[in-house]
Symmetry: C2
Subunit: 345 residues, 2 copies
């Protein structure tokens, strides 16, 4: 558990000794603690005169008193925090842009995105750790959270749980992102180009399976019943590994290859060229994610462009779900995949 219990110290530690409390503010302002709480929490339920408000704000300022978000959320029942588990692996530029856009959009709606660090507990244990922060909404990319985890989050006050992944989870809103669609598009494209012996580059780096497995499965599904073959090609993201793969290319006898994404495709393209394999003459090559690198290489890389939900749409879904926690659960397919045919296939 990341929230390990800390023994309550017998004497307060130096750093805490001078933490000002709302009682200090009340004393300095000459009002009750309840009044301090009403003023600083901006409660509209109680009428408080402007001069009193001002006195409380000035006293808080003078003492450097900071209200405790935790205490606030204990009182209010929830916060404006949208919790997301932080990715367990270094993120690619596509995901980084998506997170960024989402943060901006939620920020405009007065939410704050908090990315909860990994490595942490997994599955429903993770849900328990997240619940301890009392987020108002939880956004979970990937799979792993089960219905029990969702129920626990709802019970502890999260008004909305939204998953982004291949399958819906009971009790949660679901933005369905089926990466098999990426593989299906790539497989169909290579087949349409007359390729029948298809390789699929699968990254060896741990953590990427959640995307790479469905992409591979998608290629398989798109070629089922056609007589075309699919060969899995594990590849580490290193020049040496790519050179080793390219060195046995002629033995593999592949005439088409789908690489996990444009970075792996670029790595393989360079290695194939160094080995004298003509692309697309000998082997057609297509990547995915439509990254800039694909446009800088020659031949220009064909790719599968991926449409993710816009940060703004997602932020609005979260906000709607928070405001109406009892409304019907949303289920939406959000991942679009479209081939951008350039010169490598």
């Amino acid at each position: 558990m990341p929230y390990v219990m800390v023994q309550i110290p017998k004497t307060p530690a130096p750093a805490q000794r001078s933490v000002p409390t709302s009682a200090d503010v009340a004393r300095l302002a000459g009002v009750s603690r309840a009044t301090v709480s009403y003023v600083l929490n901006n409660t509209s339920a109680v009428r408080i005169s402007e001069p009193t408000r001002r006195r409380v704000h000035e006293a808080a300022e003078e003492l450097g008193y900071v209200p405790h978000a935790a205490a606030r959320s204990l009182r209010a029942g929830h916060s404006r925090m949208v919790l997301m588990p932080a990715p367990a692996i270094p993120v690619g530029s596509l995901y980084s842009r998506f997170i960024n856009e989402l943060q901006q959009a939620l920020g405009r709606l007065d939410y704050t995105v908090v990315q909860y660090g990994s490595p942490g507990p997994a599955g429903d244990d993770a849900a328990r750790a997240w619940a301890e922060l009392r987020p108002v909404a939880v956004l979970v990319p990937g799979s792993g959270l089960g219905p029990q985890g969702v129920a626990l989050l709802r019970r502890s006050g999260a008004r909305a749980v939204v998953t982004l992944g291949p399958e819906a989870v009971r009790g949660a809103h679901a933005l369905l992102m089926d990466h098999a669609a990426v593989g299906r598009a790539a497989g169909a494209h290579l087949y349409a180009r007359g390729r029948r012996r298809i390789g699929v580059v699968v990254p060896e780096e741990p953590g990427l399976e959640v995307f790479s497995r469905p992409r591979l499965d998608g290629v398989r599904r798109s070629l089922r019943g056609t007589g075309a073959t699919v060969t899995e090609l594990p590849l580490a993201y290193e020049e040496e590994a790519a050179a080793a793969l390219a060195a046995r290319w002629r033995d593999l006898g592949l005439d088409g290859v789908f690489a996990y994404n444009d970075e792996y495709a670029a790595l393989l393209l360079r290695a194939l060229q160094d080995e004298g394999v003509a692309v697309p003459g000998d082997t057609a090559l297509i990547g995915a994610d439509d990254l800039m690198v694909g446009r800088l290489l020659r031949p220009r890389l064909s790719t599968v462009h991926i449409e993710l939900p816009s940060g703004r749409d997602l932020a609005e879904l979260v906000d709607r779900a928070v405001r109406e926690p009892g409304a019907a659960l949303e289920r939406r397919e959000v991942l679009g995949a479209a081939v951008v045919a350039r010169d490598s296939s």
Copy 2:
């Protein structure tokens, strides 16, 4: 303020109605609330029999009671949360790897990294928002946090504040990362290669100034007094923008160029080649960050390799600072910059 006050609802919202409390656990287990608190917080100050402990745990389990991290940290004075502001711009692969390594390392020491979302308040207002979550330590990359913000964080219970940036801030540990060193290394390299009319590519994308300005200044400083000229070249990360810059390359009359990083260098290299400018014959080119893309292009890109502090070292510094909040502040230069000369310069 990201923690916007939420009006306390007159009747509890549906999602909150059934949130189990420690009082429910106490009732079911047949013990006092204090006992529940002692058991679930694992307090060693009070002796509680094993059967009682078990009864409390079973009751909590049955009810699905989740302790409130906030309430815990109110009691304990602090949490195991290390707060970092999330970057306001999509992160590059270098930074993404760094954050990931840091998360892993802090996780092994039982801390949880929480990335606090932007856009949020800036400067010392940001510190106030962070303080509301009562982190045990705060790690602030970039500049912006002032001594008042540091003091506020310390007052609200953060045992350590660590900045990663160009300058130390009073009251905080400082890991000094001077990106001017990157520009100095690049400038000196181009000068040593006999280049005297040096261009510096500066990204037009907002948010990167915190790195790009010192890199440009570093080039200027390395060439001061040599008679070499420095020309600033603003560039958006788009093929069209690079083509437009390359089209006026001969008018610019530059014989050397340092691009902000390898991504911008790759973009410019391709545009220069399309324009018939020989690299390094007409213009020597060097990038920075030592990204894979630089090794995939021909000629292979020269680059400035950057050494960031290891996640493990940084995690240990945070842990030391948390355990001894009164110890002397650390100041350390952590950014190393070394030229990797390949074929483009």
